[in-house]
């Protein structure tokens, strides 16, 4: 089984420096692209490979790039931003790539920048990833010293600057237009679309924002081709491998690179070692806090974009949070809604006012003071804060676990009302 992204990552060991990275084939994709491919050819190759954005939205990466103005009349500077602001609760996959092989990300970024002819690139890194920051700084420095960044990279005539930007903590920064505002030193509120960042992004210039895992795939696609990348999918409709994670009360929580489309059962039972002794699986969020619950009836669903969508949820980040039978679903969802209410940027009214309301109703249910009307009101909020009623995807994302909890665990909500306490806590 091929694991191109994590082949050389050994948790606990220091990542490769430039020399070691190059000895194992590192920067050969960059040499190949700069030496023998036009930017348009790189774009076409990535589009053909079927690589979809690994940050959660799952849009075809090459297609996303294709909206960037190219040619002599294109506005400059153009920007390429690596979204390393991993902050979706339950998600810990990009940390592995950032700490495990920083040069792989840098090479992927230079390739993406070349494909869109960007002049300046940023890594927007989460403040909490201190070790990654240190490693990236060192690796960027090494790349500059070796002529892999800066003016006239490897004599190709292509130039690229790269900066590391560490954030100061706000979930909204993961939304690409909010991220651009944060990079410009503003509050991280989302921007109206259109214009899309490809046309008017950072400082009003054409900009592409790609997730870390997406970018890390690029050197391997350039080296091995689109057909190879598609074959990694192992019968799935989606190409490539995927970093999957499982957390919660399982025997072996962790993050693994596996063929796209591995089943839920294989992830939980084989890789995560099954549930801890004494606990049963009750449900799980397949790809972070803003994805719909799935339950034991979905154990044979393939973890790819289309299959998870057909099961009523989203692949999201592919890092799963498992809910066991001793954890209260109302308390679980309250924890999620507390997060979303706190992290709402306040830009649009439904999200700013609705999410705290949802949070309060869930808390009163959890404390045994909630009513059946509260449960009905929660149901209504899943529509009021759903797609089309808010400025960005934060509130609709927040409603995904709530609406599915009300669907699968309605009885648990009602028991909180009839028992006047949380049935999962002794004595309430």
């Amino acid at each position: 089984m091929e694991r191109p992204l994590t082949q050389y990552i050994h948790p606990g060991c220091p990542p490769f420096d430039l020399r070691e990275y190059e000895m194992t084939g590192g920067y050969s994709a960059l040499r190949k692209a700069l030496g023998s491919m036009s930017p348009e050819e790189v774009q076409r190759l990535v589009q053909e490979s079927g690589l979809k954005g690994r940050g959660g939205a799952g849009f075809n990466t090459g297609m996303k790039w294709s909206f960037v103005p190219m040619g002599e009349n294109a506005p400059h500077p153009k920007y390429l931003v690596a979204n390393a602001d991993e902050m979706e609760p339950g998600t810990f996959k990009d940390r592995l790539l950032l700490e495990g092989n920083p040069h792989q990300l840098i090479e992927g970024m230079i390739l993406a920048a070349y494909a869109i002819q960007a002049d300046i690139s940023y890594i927007f890194l989460r403040w909490a990833y201190k070790k990654a920051a240190q490693l990236l700084r060192k690796s960027i420095h090494e790349a500059y010293a070796a002529g892999l960044l800066g003016k006239n990279i490897l004599g190709s005539g292509f130039s690229l600057e790269m900066h590391l930007h560490t954030g100061v903590g706000r979930y909204m920064c993961g939304e690409e237009t909010a991220l651009l505002n944060a990079l410009e030193g503003k509050r991280a509120t989302p921007r109206a679309k259109p214009p899309f960042p490809q046309i008017s992004g950072l400082y009003g210039k054409p900009t592409i924002v790609n997730n870390v895992e997406t970018l890390c795939n690029l050197p391997h696609i350039v080296n091995n081709g689109a057909a190879w990348f598609k074959s990694l999918g192992n019968g799935s409709a989606d190409s490539g491998t995927k970093l999957y994670g499982v957390s919660g009360k399982v025997n072996n929580p962790g993050c693994w690179e596996l063929p796209m489309g591995v089943t839920v059962r294989e992830l939980i039972e084989e890789h995560a070692g099954g549930m801890k002794n004494g606990y049963q699986l009750k449900g799980f969020l397949p790809g972070g806090a803003s994805t719909d619950f799935m339950t034991i009836e979905h154990l044979d669903v393939k973890m790819d974009f289309a299959s998870v969508a057909a099961a009523g949820s989203r692949l999201g980040t592919g890092t799963m949070v498992v809910m066991d039978d001793a954890t209260c679903p109302v308390g679980f969802v309250h924890n999620l809604q507390h997060f979303f209410a706190q992290e709402s940027c306040g830009w649009c009214t439904p999200c700013r006012e609705g999410l705290p309301w949802v949070e309060k109703m869930l808390l009163s249910l959890e404390h045994g003071t909630g009513t059946m009307e509260d449960v009905e009101l929660l149901q209504m909020h899943t529509q009021w804060l759903g797609p089309g009623n808010t400025f960005c995807a934060l509130a609709p994302g927040a409603m995904e676990p709530l609406q599915s909890a009300l669907k699968y665990f309605k009885e648990d909500f009602e028991r909180h009302v009839t028992m006047h306490r949380c049935p999962y806590h002794n004595g309430g």
Partner: protein
């Protein structure tokens, strides 16, 4: 690492209403070191105000938190209004607009840590330090804050103190962890 030096004047005037006047007073408030670091960031962006988040990080690094006086000084230096600077300072979770202790303990309260009972860790910290979230110990050693997902869900519960991440935290580990910070 957070600088140990405390600007006594800042602490004394915390919470007071900002008296904003432009000019020399604010310019002189920032140290040479802070100004050099901010100048470095200004050089990387198309206009001065784009460096405001970096400026806040720099000043906080030297003074632990952002006082009203710091807001005014940064505003004057970047040719912004204090309200603009404050709107950014108050937006981000890790810019502190109130004094914090020498060490900030960030307890992850997101979903995987919830499932793995971060609440027990928080309760134990409360008992040991006699403070709740948002409070600072009387000796100014620790400030206790909740924090969004720290991205190590496979090693929940997790917490961070200053730049150090602690994974698979148990109550039994807490004394040894806390001892490292004085």
């Amino acid at each position: 690492m957070i600088t140990q030096k405390i600007n006594k004047d800042n602490v004394a005037t915390s919470g007071s209403t900002a008296h904003y006047t432009t000019g020399l007073q604010e310019e002189q408030y920032l140290t040479d070191l802070e100004r050099q670091a901010i100048d470095h960031e200004i050089a990387l962006v198309p206009y001065k105000s784009a460096a405001v988040i970096e400026a806040l990080k720099i000043v906080q690094h030297h003074r632990r938190w952002i006082s009203d006086e710091s807001v005014n000084a940064i505003a004057a230096y970047l040719q912004m209004s204090p309200a603009e600077v404050d709107s950014v300072a108050t937006f981000y979770n890790l810019i502190f607009r109130k004094p914090v202790g020498r060490h900030v303990i960030l307890v992850c309260d997101s979903i995987s840590c919830y499932v793995m009972k971060y609440g027990d860790i928080y309760k134990a910290l409360q008992e040991k330090l006699h403070i709740k979230f948002g409070e600072t110990t009387s000796d100014q050693c620790y400030t206790l804050l909740p924090n969004c997902c720290l991205g190590c869900c496979d090693h929940a519960p997790a917490l961070m103190i200053d730049n150090d991440l602690y994974k698979d935290v148990t109550i039994a580990m807490l004394d040894r962890i806390l001892q490292k910070y004085t």
